[in-house]
């Protein structure tokens, strides 16, 4: 999974954005099928349109050239406004109220979390240090997932969140956290301009954010009452089960990096 991701990243900016957008579309499809939202063509159609818009805003430049480089950051961060406006408009257009709050909520969560937050990974392809950022965040979240699993298997005693995900343990989470905190120093060549404070923040985002992403998808699955979101990859569940920690960590990482350094 991470391997295919890295190959696409090295094909260039637009393949990366297209790949992230397709992945987001498929991940939302899994979410919609699991939550039953897929029966509502209007809502799912609006979310698919929103995800494509996120992709487009990452590809194009600012129409009046007021932003440096590629990608229209101002529109990218404003897409949720338009998307939520569209989603809230749909029940009014169809003159329906019964059950609409649930549909609107599912559509908004689906778009913001799976479409827009994951879309940040695509927008990162516009950064001047795109390769370093994207490869690091994909590799680090994958490695911290593996670390959580391994440490949990070896030392796991105390359940982390028994109501949400019975197999995760405090020991596994701490192991993953430790790996994520050390990794920025080992792979410092990915972002040579980062200072100590930024390296610590990177470790915190991947170490804590990755775990929270995993748990937040588990909350959704737990409430729906399914073990996996889908069976897309045999033995590994759905696409959404694979990218869960990336969805949470990538946008936090991008805004952290964007706060301290010019992104493009």
């Amino acid at each position: 999974m991470a391997g295919i991701g890295l190959i696409v990243v090295f094909l260039g900016r637009i393949p990366t954005i297209v790949g992230v957008t397709l992945l987001a579309i498929y991940a939302f499809k899994e979410f919609a099928r699991a939550s039953g939202l897929y029966r509502d063509w209007w809502m799912t159609g609006a979310v698919y349109a929103g995800i494509v818009t996120v992709g487009i805003s990452s590809v194009i430049s600012h129409p009046r050239g007021e932003e440096p480089g590629t990608g229209w950051y101002g529109f990218f961060v404003a897409v949720p406004v338009f998307e939520i406006a569209l989603i809230l408009f749909i029940p009014i257009l169809r003159n329906r109220a019964r059950g609409e709050l649930q549909r609107m909520s599912l559509a908004i969560v689906g778009f913001i979390y799976i479409g827009w937050m994951f879309g940040h990974l695509g927008f990162l392809a516009n950064a001047s240090n795109a390769y370093g950022f994207i490869c690091y965040i994909i590799f680090a979240t994958a490695l911290s997932d593996v670390a959580a699993f391994t440490f949990g298997k070896i030392f796991g005693r105390h359940p982390l969140r028994s109501e949400i995900s019975p197999n995760k343990t405090w020991e596994g989470a701490l192991g993953a956290f430790a790996v994520a905190m050390i990794l920025p120093w080992i792979l410092r060549f990915s972002f040579p301009f980062f200072g100590i404070w930024q390296l610590i923040l990177t470790g915190l985002i991947v170490g804590i954010g990755g775990q929270l992403g995993d748990l937040s998808i588990s909350v959704i699955k737990r409430d729906i009452g399914t073990k996996d979101m889908a069976a897309t990859i045999p033995g590994h569940g759905g696409i959404l089960d694979r990218i869960d920690s990336l969805i949470y960590a990538a946008p936090l990482f991008m805004h952290m990096a964007g706060y301290y350094y010019p992104l493009r």
């Binding site: 699991a34 897929y38 063509w41 649930q102 729906i224 399914t226 069976a231 045999p234």
Partner: protein, 242 residues
């Protein structure tokens, strides 16, 4: 707060490949959208490449369930019949496709399930089971079943005998049966050729028949199959170019 009820799809544990094989399917808007777009492209190609033409289109204008019966010479036949239906009815139209041919290899499976919306028909074993699946589909209004009662593509372009299963499906059932003749599909894409050739295609739609009053014994079922074959043959003689 009352608990929300999530109406999950019933095939969450199935792999994508298994989902293509299952019937009835549970597609979402992505599949519907893709199918509609490809249908538009196919319609355009048939018009330009094969100069596709429909005669007797008014016989298909109904909102009831119906069974379309046609001769079968090539893969173009099902595409021609689908091209004669309005786009919004496309997702309720099921061409019966041989499960031993279309539901084995992955590319064919994908085309059959996503693009053509085919109904897997077991033509060697479990014919009765496939027929009862057809009967269930016909209960809900607006279903269109496309059936080639010859059972396989003709290798000579001649009309073969109709299998009696079509009689068993429509006997004693109040459902219009529309006989159709597709002219030119044998010349355009005979069995064994890799790609279609730019030959003229014509679809001739006959007047609907009804077998509501017929009994379901063997004799009458065979008589219905023969009568439908005669109806298709008549369309060919009346309008066919050969």
């Amino acid at each position: 707060m009352k608990k929300w009820r999530y109406d999950s799809s019933r095939d969450l544990e199935r792999t994508p490949l298994d989902r293509l094989r299952q019937f009835p399917r549970e597609p979402d808007i992505l599949v519907y959208g893709l199918r509609s777009i490809v249908a538009l492209i196919i319609r355009g190609l048939l018009r330009i490449y094969n100069r596709f033409e429909i005669i007797g289109h008014e016989n298909l204008r109904t909102n009831r369930s119906l069974v379309i019966v046609a001769n079968h010479c090539s893969h173009l036949d099902a595409l021609c019949l689908l091209a004669a239906l309005p786009l919004r009815k496309l997702h309720r139209a099921f061409p019966a496709a041989a499960s031993d041919y279309f539901f084995q290899s992955v590319p064919r499976l994908w085309i059959a399930a996503v693009i053509v919306n085919a109904l897997p028909f077991a033509r060697q074993m479990r014919v009765r089971q496939s027929l009862s699946l057809c009967e269930q589909l016909l209960i809900s209004p607006g279903t269109i079943l496309i059936i080639f009662p010859e059972g396989t593509r003709s290798t000579t372009g001649e009309l073969r005998e109709f299998k009696s299963g079509i009689g068993a499906l429509v006997a004693g059932r109040d459902v219009p049966v529309v006989p159709c003749f597709i002219d030119g599909s044998f010349r355009a894409w005979p069995k064994g050729k890799r790609l279609p050739r730019p030959r003229k295609l014509r679809l001739i739609v006959g007047a609907p028949l009804n077998y509501r009053a017929c009994g379901r014994d063997k004799m009458e079922i065979c008589a219905i199959a023969a009568e439908l074959r005669e109806a298709v043959n008549e369309l060919r003689q009346r309008n066919g170019s050969n």
